[in-house]
């Protein structure tokens, strides 16, 4: 588990869990006493860890003085939060109305086939995770996918491999699509 966490992090130092928890403490300190702090803290925690491991959730519950069940309940409610580590790149396919009408499902199918994973899955090489989104507000350019923070528009199902190749870096994916 610990090994996985490290591999997720992009920074070179590969911080230890203790270091990550320290950063989390700093965030909690900023929000302590503010009303409605739980969700912003969780959002920042996910930014620090890449996902929300149990250890972080327990830590947050303790420091904010909330029952763990409440924290877990909030995490479970919002689709933005994830308790399992994601791949290096998150590929999100918009299935908002405009994208749906313009063929978003075909794009999703092509990505599933290309990555050989289902929605919510992560590739074996831990490079990509696949998710769906409801409208990124780029309806003018539908169908749209987001890879991390980059928006790719007017995506054609037959061309998804070209987009993925930009993030593959190493030959793992090139081999698969060849």
């Amino acid at each position: 588990m610990n090994e996985d966490v490290k591999r997720c992090e992009c920074c070179a130092e590969e911080p230890t869990e203790e270091e990550l928890l320290e950063r989390l403490d700093a965030v909690i300190e900023d929000y302590r006493g503010k009303p409605g702090a739980l969700i912003p803290v969780l959002q920042l925690a996910q930014g620090i860890f890449g996902y929300l491991p149990e250890v972080a959730l327990k830590h947050i519950a303790r420091r904010l003085g909330k029952p763990y069940s409440e924290v877990a309940g909030v995490v479970g409610f919002y689709s933005f939060f994830t308790t399992v580590p994601r791949g290096e790149h998150l590929v999100r396919v918009c299935l908002g109305t405009a994208c749906y009408v313009r063929g978003g499902v075909q794009v999703l199918d092509a990505l599933k086939k290309e990555l050989d994973i289902d929605i919510g899955g992560t590739t074996d090489d831990r490079r990509f995770s696949l998710a769906i989104g409801r409208c990124f507000g780029a309806c003018g350019l539908a169908p749209v996918i987001m890879v991390d923070e980059d928006v790719h528009h007017r995506v054609k199902p037959k061309r998804v491999n070209e987009i993925l190749a930009q993030y593959a870096g190493e030959p793992a994916l090139a081999e698969r699509s060849a």
Partner: protein
């Protein structure tokens, strides 16, 4: 800033859409290029918010000229800098062109997308730098706030907003002033001003645009609102999917605090107010106001029952007002310019403007702000530029998952709160998703249900379980497992949920289903009863979209892939499983299959008709599929009246079941319209003769010169022992124009004219011919007239070219052959000289008015004086009809409203059980391939009448016996073009205009097929 202001400003759109298209790189490149050319001090580069037309991005604006550039890429930058910013010459290739012309629309005010808009909410978007508060202030920013805190009491602010008529722009449309008044009247010392920037409605992104392009307009609106209700703290709830919006809003908040516009003692007035951002975490339900408040409090974002209303007990139990971004962005202009000014835009009951996000199948997708009450058609066609790729408008979804759809019958309606509600849609947050003919409305209902089902927070049963039940039913229908009564079940469930769900989102969740049932019930019925999805979306109901679109159900991937392997005879037999007239269709079919071809999404649709042409050219001996001889059937007498495509098709399929039908034809040649109306330059007569002979060879007997109603009657056939009769007499009567002077020599109806030439070779034309009409018959008549030696041929049509029912290939061909097409022209009178000879047609200029039920604009008389088109021959080709009384001769067959024979669509059986019909006599003028399909259905129907069972063995789907590698990536290959005879040569003869393909071209084209049917046969067993 230097003493001298820059002479030119270059504004680059950095809305989310343009950034995705590369606008930041463009902006960088412009700066670098200006630096290089030493123009940096003269030209300011400004990164602004969204300008609106996202589809043309990256877009840029050059001031003071007001020139609008689109699709600007880094490679274009040196040219723009050199030509425009230095020399002042507009780079024409990067500006908009008026549709269908070479005319450039360089200046923003020339472009319909912009010039019909009225910008209040988006007043600064695309004009100012959103990161520079100075620019907002320069555009009168924060002046409204200054006015409020120095000159107005909170009560006066509320009054002003109330008087403006502003309604909440987030969805429900509740009057903003009222909401504020309720909160103002609460005695609490802690109140909250909240902004809903969660914008969960998929398809709407105006809030994002304001946040990114003009964040201060939101902040100013919120401070004013806070002052009015007495709040000192506010929150903006922004969705996590909008990182750029969050970043720019954060920046703007900091700037406003620095300037003393937020925080303590705002503008020295003693009023305190501050704002914080809260990010959503991906829950649609948090767009609902009580759920949003629960979420800000740090809990699961579940809605709470109302009352108490938030104005009394909202966030943390304190009086709270929640408005959305667009609503707040209206506030400052209302305060500054007055309620009266604001209320002067819009309609009686719906004031002001609304921002719409145009998306889906519309030419100019993007954000537009128009006065409330604009006609829907104007919004979609004039502002939005209409439907791309030559497709037709089907419906628009307004109001997202809580709204409904508006079909083409209602393109005339004003888009305002009340009208939309009447039609079962809502204004919502302003998402307008335009859907074309390729959209299945049942599938759309399924999509929205899936959405609401997934996003249901689960707190109340009606929403959680009810939408699930509805989704199950709709999914069943889409999968071809729909049952009788499903529609009623959906309506009942929908009504229950609307009445019992806890929050607004739950109550409106059934709307998309109820609305699609209301306007497109026939599509639900087709899915349930016929297992047919006309749009070609519900893929469980068909193998490939092309075959699904073919009225004869030809297995297109089958014959195309056989051609690709050089197996021409097999290919032809595959084709003739469902359609005998392969060679005829290779010439004249209007190929609905190609319209649905998936290859179009890659490079271009497959040229299916031309592949077919190549295939039939390889036929040496007649290629027929399985025929089941049947001595019993051969003895039974079946009559077919009419030898057009419907009659030929019925005869063929009956013969495949072992019958020996007799075909009665009034004329001396078989073919019906194929021989009488369609000219030989489109359909060489030997091709027709070949396929008629093939059918004759199957044991079908033809009797020529025998007309129903003249030489025999239905009853006389019955008396002669015929057990079943298929009436396929077409709709052969031309219709008159109904203007003075049309009776007499020199005026012909189009069909008679074509028939005179085609059958008898006797048609005469003068020197100047005027053809009236816009259908295929009009084009055929005009092109025939040119070939018969007319010097000038004009087509007069009352609508525009875009509305002509003739196929565009035919119109283009007529154009090339020198036929003048005059549109928006209606005949008023045929003029004659003293001897009664035709001298011309007096015409009125028409203009396009409102939309009719077909979604086309009605021609209405214009104001220009009448004018005369000189002509010595007039051919009226404005429509055909069936003279039913003449052919039925007393047999009591029911007619439909339009006077055609009424019959069961699946079998062609009429109200008299031994009489069947199909083709134009049943549907009115339609296509060859429709008639072929109808002939097949009637053949099966007749067999069932005679034997009591369905023996249509050809209806099974046969997997094409060809190789296909599903893992191979398709190689980009453009659609191959079809060569034509040179114009000079073809206008002198009736030789076939289209030329065939060489084998290598045909095979390469056939190999472009994506085999959408692949892997879908296993279930057949």
């Amino acid at each position: 800033m230097t003493m001298t202001a820059s002479r030119t400003h270059f504004l680059v759109c950095t809305g989310g859409g343009c950034i995705a298209s590369g606008s930041l790189e463009v902006s960088q490149a412009v700066r670098a290029e200006l630096e290089k050319r030493d123009l940096a001090g003269e030209v300011d580069v400004v990164e602004t918010g969204c300008l609106g037309p996202c589809v043309r991005g990256p877009v840029a604006l050059v001031y003071p000229d007001g020139v609008f550039y689109q699709n600007v890429h880094v490679e274009d930058v040196p040219e723009i800098v050199e030509e425009h910013l230095l020399k002042g010459r507009v780079v024409e290739r990067l500006v908009s062109h008026a549709p269908g012309t070479d005319k450039t629309q360089a200046e923003m005010t020339d472009i319909p997308f912009f010039n019909r808009q009225v910008k209040i909410v988006l007043r600064n978007c695309g004009i100012i730098d959103p990161l520079d508060i100075g620019e907002y202030i320069a555009r009168d920013g924060y002046q409204a706030l200054a006015k409020v805190v120095t000159e107005m009491t909170p009560e006066q602010v509320v009054e002003e907003v109330l008087a403006s008529g502003l309604r909440g722009r987030g969805g429900a449309g509740f009057p903003t002033g009222m909401k504020w008044r309720f909160a103002q009247q609460q005695g609490s010392d802690v109140k909250y001003m909240l902004c809903n920037a969660d914008e969960g409605d998929p398809g709407a992104f105006m809030d994002r645009s304001v946040l990114e392009g003009d964040p201060h307009s939101l902040i100013e609106g919120m401070i004013i609102g806070a002052y009015a209700i007495g709040a000192h703290q506010g929150y903006v709830y922004v969705r996590a999917e909008y990182p750029l919006a969050v970043e720019r809003l954060e920046h703007a908040l900091n700037q406003a605090r620095e300037y003393g516009l937020l925080g303590k003692d705002i503008l020295g007035s003693g009023f305190d107010f501050d704002l914080e951002i809260r990010m959503g975490s991906g829950a649609f339900v948090c767009g609902e106001e009580t759920a949003l408040m629960t979420s800000i409090e740090g809990h699961r974002g579940e809605p709470r029952p109302r009352p108490p209303f938030p104005a009394v007990s909202g966030l943390w139990g304190k009086p709270s007002v929640l408005n959305n971004v667009e609503t707040f962005a209206n506030i400052a202009p209302i305060i500054l310019k007055g309620a009266e000014w604001y209320a002067s835009t819009g309609t009686e009951k719906s004031k002001g403007t609304k921002v719409f996000a145009l998306g889906g199948n519309v030419q100019h997708t993007g954000l537009v702000e128009v006065p409330i009450g604009m006609q829907l058609g104007e919004l979609i066609y004039d502002v939005g530029g209409g439907i791309p790729n030559g497709k037709t408008y089907k419906a628009a979804q307004l109001g997202g998952p809580s709204g409904g759809c508006i079909p083409r019958e209602h393109l005339n309606v004003p888009v305002d709160y009340a009208t939309l509600q009447e039609l079962g849609a809502i204004m919502g947050s302003g998402g307008v998703i335009v859907m074309d003919e390729d959209t299945c409305m049942v599938d759309i209902a399924r999509f929205f249900l899936e959405f609401t089902q997934e996003e249901s927070c689960g707190k109340c049963t009606p929403c959680r379980v009810g939408t699930k039940r509805m989704l199950e039913i709709v999914e069943r229908i889409c999968n071809g497992e729909g049952e009788e009564g499903d529609i009623e079940r959906l309506i009942a469930l929908g009504e229950t949920i609307s009445q019992t769900a806890l929050c607004g989102l739950g109550q409106t969740a059934p709307n998309p289903v109820l609305s699609t049932i209301r306007h497109f019930r026939h599509e639900y019925e087709a899915h349930i009863k016929d297992k047919y999805c006309e749009a070609g979306v519900c893929s469980s109901l068909f193998k490939a979209r092309c075959s699904n679109a073919c009225p004869a159900n030809v297995n297109i991937p089958g014959f195309v892939s056989l051609v690709a392997e050089g197996r021409y005879d097999e290919a032809l037999r595959f084709h003739r499983e469902r359609n005998p007239l392969a060679s005829i269709c290779a010439r004249v079919c209007f190929h609905p299959c190609e319209r649905k071809c998936m290859r179009a999404t890659l490079d271009g649709p497959l040229a299916i008709r031309q592949v077919k042409r190549f295939m039939v050219e390889q036929e040496t001996t007649p290629q027929l599929p399985e025929i089941r001889e049947n001595a019993e059937n051969a003895r039974r007498k079946v009559a077919i009246v009419g030898s057009g495509p419907a009659g030929l098709s019925a005869a063929y399929f009956l013969a495949r079941l072992g019958y020996k039908p007799v075909v009665f034809e009034a004329e001396p040649k078989a073919g019906g319209m194929l021989v009488q109306a369609i000219p030989a330059y489109r359909l060489p007569r030997k091709e027709l003769a070949r396929e008629v002979a093939m059918i004759e060879g199957m044991g079908v007997h033809f009797e020529y010169g025998k007309a129903l109603g003249r030489d025999f009657t239905l009853q006389s056939l019955r008396d002669e022992g015929y057990e079943a009769v298929f009436v396929a007499v077409g709709a052969p009567r031309g219709m008159g124009i109904g203007v003075p002077g049309e009776d007499g020599p020199g005026v012909y109806d189009g069909l008679s004219f074509l028939k005179d030439y085609n059958l008898h070779g006797t048609a005469r034309v003068g020197t100047n011919v005027a053809v009236i009409g816009g259908g295929n018959a009009a084009i055929d008549a005009a092109r025939t007239a040119i070939r018969l030696g007319a010097e000038s041929v004009k087509i007069l049509y009352r609508r525009t070219r875009a509305e002509m029912p003739a196929w565009s290939e035919e119109i283009d061909a007529a154009d090339l052959e020198g036929i003048e097409i005059m549109t928006l022209v209606a005949p008023e009178e045929i003029l004659r000289d003293a001897e009664g000879n035709v001298t011309g047609v007096r015409c009125t200029r028409m203009a396009l008015g409102d939309y009719d039920r077909s979604g086309r604009r009605q021609p209405v008389a214009g104001h220009d004086p009448a004018f005369v088109v000189e002509a010595d021959t007039v051919i009226a080709a404005i429509g055909q009809k069936l003279d039913a009384a003449a052919v039925l001769d007393g047999t009591p067959i029911e007619l439909d409203r339009r006077g055609y024979l009424a019959a069961d669509r699946k079998t062609g059986r009429t109200s008299v059980d031994w009489v069947f019909t199909g083709g134009d006599a049943m549907t009115g003028p339609s296509s060859v391939v429709e008639a072929i399909g109808a002939g097949e259905r009637a053949a099966a129907g007749i067999d069932e009448l005679l034997t009591g069972a369905n023996h249509a063995f050809w209806r099974r789907d046969i997997e094409p016996p060809t190789a296909f590698d599903p893992d191979a990536d398709p190689v980009p290959v453009e659609r191959h073009t079809i060569e034509e005879l040179p114009v000079a040569q073809r206008v002198k003869s009736f030789d076939e205009v289209e030329l065939g393909w060489a084998a290598e071209v045909a095979l390469a084209e056939a190999k472009r097929c994506l085999r959408c049917d692949y892997g879908k046969y296993h279930a057949e067993g």
